[in-house]
Symmetry: C2
Subunit: 350 residues, 2 copies
DNA sequence: ATGAAAGCGCTAACAT
DNA sequence: ATGTTAGCGCTTTCAT
């Protein structure tokens, strides 16, 4: 009423995108704001004529809807938060990439949070996440602190935990069994005729579990030297590096010079082992079989090619995204737990 | 007025975080909403007593401010968008990590966007970004399409371009000269006595520029065989892999079996070259000097250790974050262009 | 199919 | 130091 011709003024000023609102577009199209809103969000609910006029107005002005305002009004932020321990370290990359893409395709954006390897930041991070009222949170690995878990649960935000299987998921879950991997790897090495195996693992709860079940199964299969109940183990810092792999092998060889197989908790570690073996003149797989975990892109290009455990990180991202999108659409997700499994990729290093 | 005791009801229902508003907290603390707001955002502007009461109320209810609403009202979203071609590929990881951290420390969140290697998605991505009204956008590499650049500029959002130096930045810039790197690498190889060099580069504009200036300088220094004006070049697809490095070396050797030095546009490529050389029984650095780019974490652990070009990705992230934070604080950023330089890391492969 | 009114949860601007 | 009022820009609900 007290606002004669602000649209044209603004448009003339050329301040496209900034300060331009739905009202301006609606006015330009000669309709009510709500009608313009419908034209953009539910084009089917609007007449051809109106649709065309609104689209024209949008085109002319370069209008971009304010999703903050939209989110506030509709209580759908179209934002999804992903939490990784750290983005450096190639393990979760595939998952993050596929999450970003799957979500973008459905009109959602990904907010990235790094929890770090200490608990301290978890709380602040959680606050930052909840404050944005995301439509979902994807956790890689498990939230450690029980308070954080409780808090997240209480917030009512859909949660997908990934890269693990836990008997007590917060909400939804897509992962695989680290225990089963340890067992499968031990059997694979055993089937390949190895009888004195060892393991190098990063200081990380899940690596440790893979190592533990590997060790247990190896002992059960009689792959421990001289009837002892534990196989040689070397723990290295997270994130894992080639250097750790190299020193890891040295360490293991110190514990038992006759080992003929080693399971590494990451492909990076395995590659370090291969380098160290080469430097020491140990032949692979002749004298030593090497297995990794992750099937990183380089593993197939090593010489010899690395036998490893493949996880479908892209698949995890897709399923997680779908879980959240379905939930946002009001669908009840039937199977809240999705075991994505794993595959042993047989190549040359065993 | 027509709202007797909703706070306690809500609190009693235990629906913490959800549906709980500043008004509820304020009522519980016995103050006006704006006062509660001040207690949380500008604690210095409020009395001790009030501060305590509000904090208590927040504690008791588990209240988390709605940043969507806050952003809408204050026109500060505390959100920063980062655009990378793809998150897979280790080059930008350090930068993204340090961005996330620096921003989180200042109360900002990072939104991750992947532009992909085709232009098609750039436009949709830009729309999604502008729609969130972020306080800043960090671009790794340069926005290709001119319309996108214009659009971003028009939106008025502070922009930091990174990983390059361009004479015509959109807004702010933190990077380094790819040309200077090519020149420096050529000189380094020349100083090491190499006289027949070649280059393997990913199909990527910046890799190509490093390769070009390397080639030019090499020719100038007389490092091309038989007085030709171009050195052997092998282009490989992006993102680069070990496999590309291996086939790349084969290809180069096919062009000129007597090359004694090769510059790779990434450490991954360099590593592939080293593997292929080892398989072929070519000694490094004896017969062939190898240089990479990126100084990835594994490069120091290779055998021989890789001589490479180090870029301070963490530094780039920090400076970019500071640029945006300063701008959001209303400070005028004096030097909008920051050359972060590069370092040649001399190790064993040359 | 279109519109009017009300409000999402917060903060800026102006009192007091 | 604290409160009142009036939006931020959109969507929901309820008319028409």
């Amino acid at each position: 009423m007290t606002d004669p011709q602000p649209v044209l003024e603004k448009v003339r000023k050329g301040r496209k995108g900034a300060g331009l609102t739905l009202r301006d577009v609606a006015k330009l199209a000669g309709v009510a704001p709500i009608t313009a809103s419908r034209a953009l969000n539910t084009p089917d609910a609007v007449s051809e004529t109106v649709l065309k006029k609104v689209r024209e107005a949008v085109e002319r002005t370069g209008y971009v809807p304010n999703l903050l305002a939209g989110g506030l009004a509709s209580k759908k932020s179209r934002l999804v938060a992903a939490v990784v321990p750290t983005i450096v370290g190639p393990i979760f990359l595939e998952t993050v990439q596929s999450l970003t893409e799957s979500l973008a395709a459905a009109g959602y954006q990904l907010m990235l949070g790094q929890s770090g390897y200490e608990n301290s930041r978890e709380d602040a991070l959680l606050e930052a996440i909840i404050g944005r009222r995301p439509d979902g949170v994807v956790l890689t690995g498990i939230m450690r602190s029980p308070e954080s878990r409780k808090r997240l649960l209480a917030s009512g935000i859909p949660v997908v935990e990934t890269w693990d299987l836990t008997p007590t998921p917060i909400d939804m879950l897509v992962g695989f069994s680290h225990e089963n991997i340890g067992i499968a790897v031990a059997r694979h090495l055993h089937a390949a005729g190895r009888r004195r195996v060892a393991v190098i693992a990063g200081v990380d709860e899940r690596s440790r579990r893979r190592a533990k079940s590997f060790s247990d199964e190896a002992v059960r299969l009689g792959m421990a030297a001289g009837g002892v109940t534990e196989i040689p183990l070397c723990m290295v810092p997270a994130p894992t590096t080639l250097g750790s792999g190299r020193t890891g092998l040295s360490d293991l060889l110190g514990q038992d010079a006759a080992i003929d197989g080693v399971f590494c908790s990451s492909d990076v570690l395995a590659m370090g082992v291969m380098i160290e073996a080469q430097v020491r003149g140990i032949s692979i797989p002749g004298q030593l079989a090497v297995m990794g975990f992750g099937d990183l892109s380089f593993s197939r290009d090593l010489h010899p090619q690395l036998t490893t455990v493949r996880i479908d990180g892209t698949g995890i991202g897709k399923v997680a995204a779908q879980f959240i999108i379905d939930r946002a659409d009001g669908l009840q997700v039937a199977d809240r737990v999705h075991d994505i499994g794993f595959t042993i990729i047989e190549r040359e290093s065993v």
